[in-house]
């Protein structure tokens, strides 16, 4: 049975003046799949995530979310339609409690900004969504703590929880493992594994061990272009990928040839 495609990017480009940061990149994200996006620094991964999430408009190509063309939609509208994202740098509300962080993002689905008279914390939809998201991200014990006092790993978990509180179907996670120790990485990978069944996950990541442990599909970008997409084993064996990214084979190639 073919997996349900939730996000489909076709020939997406993004130009910054004379620089083509993303050059005709295509990508599909299916429910129940962790799709890793890898590439060297400056390959255009974050730019592609920004275009997919609507943070910056695409210069060309189209983005479809659950079958609808969202290329012209602004980011908040895409977010309400189920496109959630996390950021490379933690973007939590440091002064607020963990619970309030998640409650506030959950409020996006029941904004009712005109209702100035009722207490925000009395919106049961938002509080329930926040509690569930906190529980899924294993932060229940920290729910009342001020977010700024959490450990680095917990802040990254909170970042995911805030994303989950908005009930997204697609998760775009920009380097959720950055700066994490081995234990924290394990915990985060377990969390992603648990999220997989209900979501389509795009994982931008530099930690190759983690990527090959969890990814169902891998897309490799080099200088703004997608040079390969496929299952981890195929990517590992792909000569282009090895030469461009994994194998440092520009220098190694003559030696390898000599040994052969």
């Amino acid at each position: 049975m073919p997996a349900e495609i939730l996000l489909e990017a076709t020939d997406v480009s993004r130009r910054f003046g004379g620089l083509l940061a993303v050059d005709c990149a295509s990508l599909t994200l299916a429910r129940g799949e962790v799709h890793a996006l890898i590439g060297t620094n400056g390959a255009g991964k974050s730019t592609l995530v920004n275009v997919l999430s609507g943070e910056i408009p695409a210069s060309g190509g189209s983005v479809r979310l659950s079958g609808r063309d969202v290329t012209r939609w602004p980011q908040p509208r895409r977010a309400r339609a189920g496109l959630g994202r996390s950021y490379q740098r933690a973007t939590i509300f440091a002064q607020a409690s963990v619970f309030e962080n998640c409650r506030l993002t959950a409020q996006a689905h029941c904004q009712r900004a005109y209702d100035l008279w009722s207490d925000a914390t009395r919106c049961s939809d938002a509080t329930r969504a926040a509690e569930q998201a906190i529980a899924r991200a294993n932060l229940s014990a920290q729910a009342r703590r001020v977010a700024g006092t959490l450990s680095h790993g917990q802040k990254r978990q909170l970042e995911i929880a805030m994303c989950l509180a908005t009930a997204p179907s697609v998760l775009l996670l920009d380097e959720p493992l950055a700066g994490m120790g081995p234990e924290e990485t394990d915990r985060m990978l377990l969390l992603l594994e648990a999220l997989k069944p209900g979501h389509a996950v795009l994982l931008v990541e530099h930690d190759m061990d983690a990527v090959f442990r969890i990814a169902d599909r891998i897309t490799v970008m080099v200088s703004g272009r997608v040079i390969a997409t496929g299952e981890p084993a195929a990517i590992r064996g792909n000569a282009d990928v090895q030469s461009a990214y994994l194998g440092e084979s520009v220098d190694d190639a003559p030696q390898a040839a000599a040994i052969d």
């Binding site: 980011q75 908040p76 509208r77 994202r85 440091a94 506030l104 996006a108 029941c110 900004a113």
Partner: protein, 339 residues
Amino acid sequence: MKFRRFAILVRQTSAWRGWPLAVAVVALALFPHVGGSFYVDLVLTTMILSIFALSLELLVGRTGLVSFGHAAFFGIAAYATALLSPSSQPPSLAWLLPAVVAIAALAALAIGAFCLRARGVYFIMVTLAFAQMTYFVFHDTKLAGGTDGMYLNVKPLLALDGDTLVDLRNPRTFYYATLVLLVLVYALLATIGRSRFGHALAGIRANEQRMRAAGFSTYGYKLAAFTLAGGLAGVAGFLHAVKDGFVSPEILAWHQSGAVLLMLILGGIGTLRGAVLGAFAFVLMKELFQSEALFGAFAKHWQLPLGLAVIACVALMPKGIVALPTQLRRFRAPLLHAG
């Protein structure tokens, strides 16, 4: 159910944090009975400026939008009060105040729609530019007396079936009407602070990009806050015009926008109490340095010591007057340990 919620609310707020506020309101209410007329007038001026500062606090403290043109709405409302008042009969408060507030809010909606396209320091400069444009409209055209300003012919009153309920010509009545409006504006902003709208504004101040990623169209929120703040500044502008019975372009000038920002900085940005305390501190300092009894001939250079005093306050109390108790406790703690 509604009542129980209200009872809980009262218990939560008044038993704890609310008591200094209640004391302050009672003190303000009793003041005309004990203070001399000069001081009563000074407190009245300060209460009007407190409303003005509170309206800006919604933008600066709550939403993180530093507007350097907030005097525009204060001034537009003051001029609207003068222009809308008929020449002989006293206008009714029932329509004049809402009309003036609506005009100020509409002006804020129009100006905000442009200004909010800019961010950071550009936003500050664009708000200043719009406020200066408004200033020159009243300063250079004969629309409302130009540089001479214009008089308010008759002060408004509120009458029902021929019985006068509130007559703002009576200074005592005007004082209490201002106090009631101050309490109402404070209560409205406190309520907004607890609402979803208020929480979303706080989120925008902390990280607007994150709010957009969560699904909030932040432009609409900021414009609503800007409009509301303009309308509330209009309440202060209305009271100012009625109090003095006279409006001049000076109330729209950038000094006025700067002064209200200074009040927030003095009091402490981010709390409603801070806005009110800042307004009192600013007026008292200004009055102190303008006093010829204390400074003699030097009193006419009052801006100089006021400026130095503001610098000293900001250096010594970076978080404003509201944070002073915490600051003192921290300062004393090491001394206690040492002793």
